[in-house]
């Protein structure tokens, strides 16, 4: 069963990682969900698919009052990212869903109505959470054509969606990357195939290199921290992407 791990805390400002579900059915890709809690509000990043909603909800509720959820950040439109939207709205109908303007009329197929969605323009935006300013950073074509990552300048955490994702073996349940060179082997095939644009990749690497990042938290696999963050950016910058087979 999924559990929420606190990966950052500074007084009333917390990041929770709901990661690594060993009990989920094997045919569903493992996902990480992140919750940014600040003051009286919380933002859920990539809440996941319908099938894992009970596990995510209960993990979140164990660490944080779910009625404090003010919004959902959907990095892009995939079902493993946001197909649980209708369920979160069932629990809290006034939730806002921040996503690329590109998906504003697609995501209602998963749930929600006109007033649910807050479209993010291509250049990104600031998302306010009880006084905290989070930045939606453009990551278009990595892999989705309308794609954003979320940067928290206070916690120095970058939620990087599918960038940094690794499809780890079932027996590897580490929350953080332990050995970069061993870990990155599980990320290589994924990035080569899923990331389709070399130009978009270079843009992203330049953009995030300018940010102060202590932790890069992806939607699949383990969290990069400390020097592994820059290691990952360098590795990604050098990687040939848009490759059908290695």
């Amino acid at each position: 069963m999924k559990q929420a791990h606190c990966i950052y805390q500074d007084e009333e400002h917390r990041w929770l990682a709901i990661a690594r579900d060993a009990t989920k059915p094997g045919y569903i890709i493992d996902t990480n969900e992140y919750v940014v809690v600040h003051g009286d509000e919380a933002l859920l990043c990539d809440p996941g698919g319908i099938e894992i909603f009970p596990a995510v909800f209960s993990a979140l509720s164990a660490e944080c009052d779910p009625t404090r959820l003010a919004g959902i950040f959907a990095s892009h439109q995939d079902p493993d990212i946001i197909s649980s939207l209708a369920l979160w709205l069932e629990f809290k109908p006034d939730l806002k869903c921040y996503t690329s303007w590109l998906w504003q009329s697609f995501l209602p197929h998963f749930g929600g109505h006109d007033s649910t969605f807050v479209p993010i323009p291509d250049q990104g935006t600031t998302i306010r959470l009880d006084g905290l300013e989070l930045q939606a950073i453009p990551a278009h074509y990595l892999h989705s054509s309308g794609n954003f990552h979320l940067y928290d300048p206070k916690a120095k955490i970058l939620f990087s969606g599918d960038v940094g994702a690794a499809l780890l073996p079932a027996d590897n349940n580490d929350l953080y990357v332990q050995d970069f060179s061993r870990h990155i082997r599980h990320a290589e095939g994924f990035h080569k195939r899923w990331m389709g644009s070399d130009r978009a990749k270079r843009d992203w690497c330049e953009r995030v290199s300018r940010l102060e990042i202590d932790m890069l938290v992806p939607q699949h696999g383990a969290i990069y921290q400390g020097a592994d963050v820059q290691r990952f950016i360098n590795w990604f910058a050098a990687l040939e992407v848009g490759v059908l087979r290695s």
Binding site: M1, I50, F53, P54, A55, F57, S58, S61, A62, D65, P66, T67, A86, L87, E90, F91, K92, P93
Partner: protein, 207 residues
């Protein structure tokens, strides 16, 4: 959880609901096609009666009535079809709401006692489901009433077909041909009756 489990199964909707609507639609389509056949048959019967002249005056009147009957039947079936196509949306809504309610209930159960907001979420979900179920029940009642009304119309069609058979006996040299036409009418109307009986047994919701 202290809050009572909401009754998500007030109407037992399972996987077969959409399949049931498809069956209803198919039955309606079959009746519409048959009604079209009656219309053509009645037209032919009118021409035949004209050719038979004075000997088939009564048969001609009945053929006109049968044609009107076929047109009325087509109108009835069109309105039935409209109702069932509307019910696809309602059934889908209920099925979706039940699925959402089931998963949310599982999530709340996993979360243990006292999750803030749980009671309100349950109440909202149960109210929405009850509203959708009530809409579906209303549709089901209207559909049943419409089927009953159509069954009465078809009874009249049966009477007309029987009368046509009697009139055919007075058709002189055309008697055999008129008899054949009126027998065809009776068979087709019997077929519609059977379809309506099937339709009358179908329910959009199971109580």
């Amino acid at each position: 959880m202290n809050a009572p489990e909401p009754n998500f199964h007030g109407i037992a909707l399972r996987t077969g609901e959409l399949a049931r609507i498809v069956r209803v639609n198919e039955e309606i389509k079959a009746i519409v096609a048959t009604a079209f056949r009656i219309n053509l048959m009645a037209l032919n019967a009118i021409f035949l009666a004209k050719r038979a002249g004075n000997a088939a005056l009564g048969f001609g009147v009945l053929s006109n009535e049968l044609r009107r009957f076929a047109q009325d039947l087509t109108r009835h079936m069109a309105s039935l079809r409209e109702m069932t196509s509307g019910s696809v949306g309602s059934v889908t809504g209920v099925v979706q709401q039940q699925r959402i309610a089931r998963i949310l209930a599982e999530a709340l159960k996993l979360s243990g006692e006292g999750v803030p907001g749980a009671r309100e979420a349950r109440r909202r979900g149960a109210a929405r489901l009850a509203e959708q179920q009530s809409r579906l029940r209303g549709l089901d009642l209207r559909l049943r009433a419409a089927v009953e009304e159509t069954q009465q119309l078809v009874e009249l069609g049966g009477v007309l077909a029987r009368s046509a058979k009697i009139e055919a006996a007075y058709g002189g040299g055309f008697s055999a041909a008129l008899m054949q036409v009126s027998t065809d009418f009776a068979e087709v109307i019997a077929q519609i009756k059977r379809s309506l009986e099937v339709l009358g047994k179908e329910r959009l919701v199971k109580d």
